[in-house]
Amino acid sequence: MAIDLHKYANPKRFLAITGAIYPWSVGVTVILLAVGLYMSLFVAPPDYQQGDTVRIMYVHVPAAWMGLSIYTMMAISSAIGLIWKHPVADLTAKAAAPIGACFTFLALVTGSLWGQPMWGTYWVWDARLTSMLILLFLYLGYMALWESFDDQGKAAKATSILALVGVINIPIIKFSVDWWNTLHQPASVATMSGPKIHSSILIPLLVMGLAYMSFFVMVLIIRVKAEILQRRLRILRMSELKEH
């Protein structure tokens, strides 16, 4: 089958490249995570109002960044998959979705844990938290759509369309939720933007952000690899079926 060789020529190169990156991503993740956690838990100053609870921010804020940027990345690879029909681009988007959903979920959980001492309740309809919640729904819809197709090629195209529509909508949703929030809540309620950004806070925050990113790259490589292998396995099984 000449066609299959052509179709999966790209993944071969992809596997070679990621195979080289993978060990580095593991090392970088471990080091950055250790440094970032140490800095945010021990070095960074406690907030004069919130005390040590402010340290939740170092887990929460980068997770929220990741949640949003992974969806954007998925939309970009979806566009690449749709336009240039690059099979790895589709698989990357598919593999990234659950990771992004986990980061979004982490941001929600840490947000509500942080909210407890700040607001005295585990959930407040704060603009940022609400936007994150909607983002989680977008992720869940995307993953559910992937699951509901048998044909992987069709699933890839359908989810690409959804991801692109979603990414156009995210700024509108964000804007509308902010609008809704200012309409319904007095300005005195503290928001999650935290205290003024000082370098002693910013540096651990950035280190944690980089650690998350490198963790994402690591897990993404594992997942994409697994996807490619699964696809090959399916094709092997099918050709076996045909011979019988």
Partner: protein, 221 residues
């Protein structure tokens, strides 16, 4: 152009002859709205406070009810094949189906809304703005919904998935739509909200037509 209107006319005739779908979504709309006073209690001040939101949420849900059949009936009996090989571009075809959906499934809701609004103790100025906001905002529901309907057209039980895909994208319409009515009730200008709704409708006109057409091509492939 003649073909475009022919398509809409056929869908309208089908809706009138079948009847049940339109009546059902209308009944659903009324029942959802009626459930709220029963759930939160009959105090008029509470009802007036939640009225705009309740009506909008009920409209979103009733719209979902008819959405999954937007392309499915034509897909199942092979009409979609014949529509696609015809001379109309698929994007225009989608627009025709969306207009037919809006006329048959959403316009009846807008017509009955003033009565329901009265039952929720909404002041007169609020009722006017409510109808206007629905007229401006609901085309978005059909247009965005068309994307979801096209993505799930080949699935036997796509309805639940459809709501997960589409409802998060409806949130801006819900927010600005309800805010417009609340502004009008509070004697504030509702125009900015209505303009935002109109902007969203125009944007989703472009996005909805192209994305739904792409999804339909995929479903047939």
């Amino acid at each position: 152009m003649k073909r475009f209107f022919g398509l809409i006319r056929r869908d309208l005739v089908l809706a009138v002859r079948q009847g049940s779908a339109v009546t059902l979504s209308l009944c659903f709309f009324v029942i959802v709205v009626v459930l709220f006073p029963l759930g939160v209690g009959p105090e008029l001040s509470v009802l007036a406070r939640i009225g705009p939101g309740v009506l909008w949420v009920a409209a979103l849900l009733s719209c979902l009810l008819t959405l999954d059949r937007m392309f499915q009936a034509d897909f199942e009996d092979g009409s979609l094949d014949l529509l696609i090989i015809g001379p109309l571009p698929l994007e225009i075809l989608v627009l025709g189906k969306v207009i037919a959906h809006w006329l048959t499934s959403i316009l009846p809701l807008i017509v009955i809304t003033p009565v329901l609004a009265l039952s929720l103790n909404m002041p007169t100025e609020g009722i006017w703005t409510m109808s206007l906001a629905l007229l401006i905002g609901t085309p978005t529901l059909s247009l965005i919904g068309a994307i979801g309907a096209a993505l799930t057209v080949a699935m036997r039980r796509g309805g639940v998935l459809l709501s997960l895909l589409v409802l998060p994208l409806y949130i801006p319409v819900l927010i600005f739509g309800a805010a417009a009515v609340e502004a009008a009730i509070g004697q504030l200008p509702a125009t900015p909200h209505l303009l935002l709704l109109a902007g969203i409708s125009l944007g989703s006109l472009v996005v909805g037509m192209f994305a739904a057409a792409a999804a339909l091509r995929l479903a047939l492939d």
